[in-house]
């Protein structure tokens, strides 16, 4: 368990609650349609493929591949000011969905590298306000 990070805390509502509850248990879960099997992200009230409202929150492997690697040299909100420069990746998850994540890289080892194609794994970050946010770090293996 890390000391709480000074990064934004999520605004949680009834639709997104299971995602954040899972994160507190150190699990990355997304909605899998109980009718057609499509795993959707971002979180939504119905399946984007068949409109079914029946879904199971399935646990994902927590691994992914970097599709795009950005480095922010300026902060667009005060919450990120002390973290500049920082990396953000668009990550392809093997189960199908894609998500954006900042790359956990406190020693800034990867700022000058190109991470496209690299494997990343989920890392659960305690943020101020007692929320846990799933982020990704570069897999060493």
């Amino acid at each position: 368990m890390n000391a709480p990070t000074k990064k934004p805390a999520p605004q949680i509502n009834a639709t997104t609650q299971p995602f954040w509850d899972a994160a507190k248990k150190r699990e990355l879960r997304m909605q899998k349609c109980a009718d057609c099997g499509h795993i959707r992200f971002p979180i939504g009230p119905v399946c984007t493929s068949c409109l079914s409202d029946k879904a199971d929150w399935v646990k994902l492997s927590g691994r992914g591949t970097v599709l795009s690697h950005l480095v922010f040299h300026r902060a667009y909100s005060s919450a990120w000011k002390e973290h500049v420069p920082y990396s953000v990746a668009m990550v392809q998850l093997p189960e199908g969905p894609r998500m954006f994540t900042d790359i956990v890289d406190p020693e800034r080892r990867y700022i000058d590298e190109d991470l496209v194609g690299r494997t990343v794994e989920v890392w659960f970050d305690l943020v101020e306000g007692d929320s846990v946010v799933p982020r990704f770090k570069v897999s060493e293996s």
Partner: protein, 380 residues
């Protein structure tokens, strides 16, 4: 009966641009409106439709049309406001065209005014709604275009120097435009030495942030023929949008733009070879490369090489953003691209006029990579 060729732009108006202390989005919109009706040779009593884009600093938000109508003393038959970022201008003109074609109005003023510069707007919004990408540091308009640039570089070998060609061309054109905000010429090295914003984008890849107002008057071609200026016909139009950012595999490549352009070319019965000059929406330099590929001026992945050697500069094969674009003229979210398109087709651009223009392509894109449109403007 097809709408293609039956609707025209009868007048355009643009205010001074830049840092305009003491102005408001409303008064800039009205200033542009007065210039546009004067340009068309119309009185305000001739305007029976008002479509507006609220400025980023407009306090009225989606009720902006009410305040604008009240302020200029017009009770319109047809009105509304829409917010689609840099796609709004083109989409409102298409909406006006459809309304005129359907008989809901005869002459529609499309209006925008903004004080983003003096209002301190930083375009720092995060996408993602209730699961805001801001949680993961993915904020601001530059970030989404940085994804597009990064992917384009990885898939096609495009370089930052290719992006620089776009910035250099726009600045060269702005130097010929007295109303442009940034007129000092720049080099590719200037671009390469400008500070990083969101890698791979640098400062000179980014558009300006500006105050100003723009108005475009749309009417039927038959009516426009009797007005003051040569009518500029909307020969073809199209629009297409994507809402599914994360679930759309090549969202970063904005493939919906290709559909918008295909519809514009199809309705105009024209192709890329017929285009003499293009005003391509340039919130960031990468945007111009994507338009060039989607319009078919070059093949997919080849726009980096296409823009080398001044090909998109005045005097090149395809002059692009002849007034300087969002990058160097002023950031009116694409509205000035429409104005410049009209002026090029009217052949009134003086020392930046492309010779013998018959057809100008004008494109718009907004809400980061989501919304797009295209129009072909033609001499009437």
């Amino acid at each position: 009966m097809s709408i293609a060729g039956r609707i025209a732009i009868a007048g355009v108006g643009a205010t001074e641009q830049g840092t305009l202390q003491g102005r408001t989005p409303l008064d800039l919109g009205i200033d542009a409106f007065k210039r546009a009706i004067a340009d068309a040779g119309l009185r305000k009593e001739d305007i029976d439709g008002i479509l507006t884009m609220p400025g980023t600093t407009s306090p009225e938000g989606s009720l902006h049309y009410l305040r604008f109508g009240e302020a200029v003393g017009i009770n319109p038959r047809y009105t509304g406001s829409m917010t689609m970022g840099g796609a709004t201008g083109g989409c409102l003109i298409q909406m006006a065209a459809a309304a005129i074609h359907a008989g809901l109005a005869t002459t529609v003023a499309c209006v925008f005014g903004d004080t983003a510069k003096t209002g301190g707007v930083t375009f720092n919004r995060a996408s993602g709604g209730e699961l805001s990408w801001g949680l993961w540091g993915m904020l601001g308009a530059a970030a989404n275009s940085a994804i597009a640039a990064d992917r384009h570089m990885h898939e096609y070998g495009t370089t930052s120097r290719h992006l620089a060609e776009v910035a250099v061309a726009c600045r060269k054109h702005a130097a010929l435009n007295e109303n442009a905000v940034m007129r000092t010429p720049i080099t590719i090295d200037d671009h390469q030495n400008s500070r990083p914003i969101v890698r791979p984008l640098r400062l000179l890849d980014c558009c300006l942030i500006s105050d100003g107002g723009v108005c475009v008057i749309v009417t039927s071609f038959d009516r426009a023929r009797d007005l003051k200026k040569n009518p500029v016909v909307i020969a073809g139009m199209g629009q297409a949008h994507t809402t599914m950012n994360m679930e759309h595999e090549r969202w970063w490549y904005v493939p919906h733009q290709k559909q918008a352009l295909a519809d514009a070319f199809r309705t105009a019965k024209l192709g890329p070879d017929d285009i003499d000059v293009a005003q391509l929406y340039d919130n960031f330099t990468i945007s111009v490369l994507l338009w060039l590929e989607h319009a078919g001026f070059c093949k997919e992945g080849e726009a980096g090489g296409f823009v080398e050697g001044g090909r998109i500069q005045l005097g090149g094969d395809l002059p692009v953003n002849t007034a300087g674009g969002n990058l160097s003229e002023s950031y009116m979210e694409g509205w000035l691209h429409i104005v410049e398109g009209v002026r090029q087709v009217r052949r009134e651009c003086g020392n930046r006029q492309v010779p013998d223009v018959e057809n100008c392509l004008v494109t718009g894109r907004g809400m980061s990579l989501n919304c797009s449109n295209a129009m072909i403007l033609q001499r009437g």
